[in-house]
């Protein structure tokens, strides 16, 4: 099959991808630089700045918090989102059409507004502990991902298989766990991991719900940047990119990365 592409477009595409990947290369380079300031290309090579991450307790502590928060928030959102996605896919005619849109609301409402409102109503208003407010906030912002990605799996699931199991004498709940769940495994894993990275990278919710003693890694990075400008930030960034690579590997193995173009 021959389709000719104008050379100008090819050049433009190459430039676009240089633009997309260049800055990330810059970060990796400056994380390796043997200088006390950020520079690129790196002058001398050292892994010192990676070691330094673990010298700064603010980083190690917030890393732990961010990880726990991402796991907790995503799990909570999965526990709530999977039944909803199942109901939407399985009982399409029984539920009003707008219900699907309800779960997209956390995307529609600006995150920063949600963060502010959660802080005002939950943390300040009813005195909910800040960690709990953070957890709820993160569960909320990843809910659209869990419902949508799991929902995509469920939409291509043939529910007559579940009915077959029930007709063979399997109770409905058991049928869900033994027949439905294994067949939408890819969607659940991909949904989990995409939600996880979204939560891990979140700024707009967390910025309002951090306080003395409780902070997340992105917020800590922001704060650190305002005071120091050494390669430690770059090395933390490289670590986060490593997480991204892992996430991409998982998505590729489950739904395939092209799923993200759908």
């Amino acid at each position: 099959m021959k389709t000719r592409i104008h050379p100008v477009l090819i050049v433009l595409t190459v430039l676009t991808f240089l633009f997309l990947l260049g800055p990330l290369v810059v970060i990796i380079g400056s994380a390796l630089s043997d200088t006390t300031y950020l520079t690129f290309p790196p002058q001398g090579l050292t892994l010192h700045w990676f070691a330094n991450i673990f010298e700064i307790s603010a980083f190690t502590r917030t890393m732990g918090t961010s990880f726990m928060l991402a796991v907790g928030g995503t799990t909570l959102s999965m526990l709530i989102g999977i039944p909803a996605a199942y109901a939407l896919a399985r009982y399409r005619i029984e539920l009003p059409a707008f219900l699907g849109n309800v779960f997209v609301l956390p995307i529609l409402i600006p995150e920063i507004v949600l963060g502010f409102s959660l802080m005002k109503s939950l943390a300040s208003g009813i005195g909910l502990p800040i960690t709990l407010a953070l957890l709820v906030g993160h569960a909320l912002i990843v809910l659209p991902y869990t419902v949508r990605v799991v929902g995509a799996s469920l939409n291509s699931f043939d529910f007559s298989i579940e009915e077959a199991a029930v007709s063979l004498g399997c109770p409905r709940i058991k049928a869900f766990f033994t027949v439905v769940l294994p067949n939408i495994r890819a969607g659940i894993i991909a949904g989990f991991i995409l939600a996880f990275i979204t939560s891990l990278n979140d700024v707009s919710i967390s910025i309002f719900l951090t306080g003395p003693g409780v902070s997340t890694l992105p917020i800590q990075l922001l704060a650190h940047m305002e005071q120091f400008f050494d390669p430690t930030i770059a090395s933390v960034s490289v670590l986060l990119m490593g997480v991204t690579v892992a996430v991409m590997a998982v998505v590729e193995r489950t739904l395939g990365l092209t799923f993200l173009t759908k």
Binding site: I5, L24, F116, V203
Partner: protein
Amino acid sequence: MSNRLRAWLLATPAILLVFIFLGLPVLATFATTFGDPKGPFSTYAAFFNSRFRMTVLWRTMEVALITTIISVAIGFCTAWVVARMPGRIKSLLIIAAVFPLLTGVVVRSFAWLVILGKNGILNNFLLSIGAIAEPLSMLYTQGSVIVAMVYLFVPLMILTLVGVLEGIPQDMTDAAASLGATPAAAFRQVVLPMAVPGLIVGAVLVFTGSFTSYATPQLLGGERQMMMGTFLYQRAMVTFDWVGASTIAAVMVVVTLTTVLVMSKAARKLNPMAG
């Protein structure tokens, strides 16, 4: 148990989560804006009469609009090429677009801090080739914010549009060619109109995303290039003016929802059959 009841029961926890922790707090924020003793709309009057606040609002709109236009242009051209590449190269390019997309906004904005700073890479490069004598102040300008925002949203645009373009069957362009349409005419009369709804969806994502962004304007715009997101944070957490912050929040929600509603309507109108 009827299917209807079962369906509602399964959906209830999620509905409650959204209602209690999103619906109520956001409504409470809205309510705050009407509770001013000087009258229910006095906070809005104050907002729209304040030159500073209006400057921030217009600046945010401007930055979001420019970001959207540039992202759409770059995204469309790139997606056009990516969609036409053979399988292996295409997957590599998609990986190259997904990687920055899944990398956090702080990391991605930080990269531009390193590049555009006074002692940054770009200044050092320009100095070393003698293009400039003094380092340029590129940070904390509208330009730096827009560059970083475009950087943030181009991957999203590429991925959305690759999906849209791949959704246009080869048969469509073949049919156009068989009827005598040159590649350019087929693009203009068939591909573009069919891509418009997807293009609008992508553009709305970019516009609302940049309109409500926080980390990027905070890092690359600073105080001087205050945008709605950073302004909201400053009012809420620095000056503790929660009524003022709530008003900013309400304006952001109204602008975002209006954009989404108007544009999705436009998308349906422009192409009644592909949506």
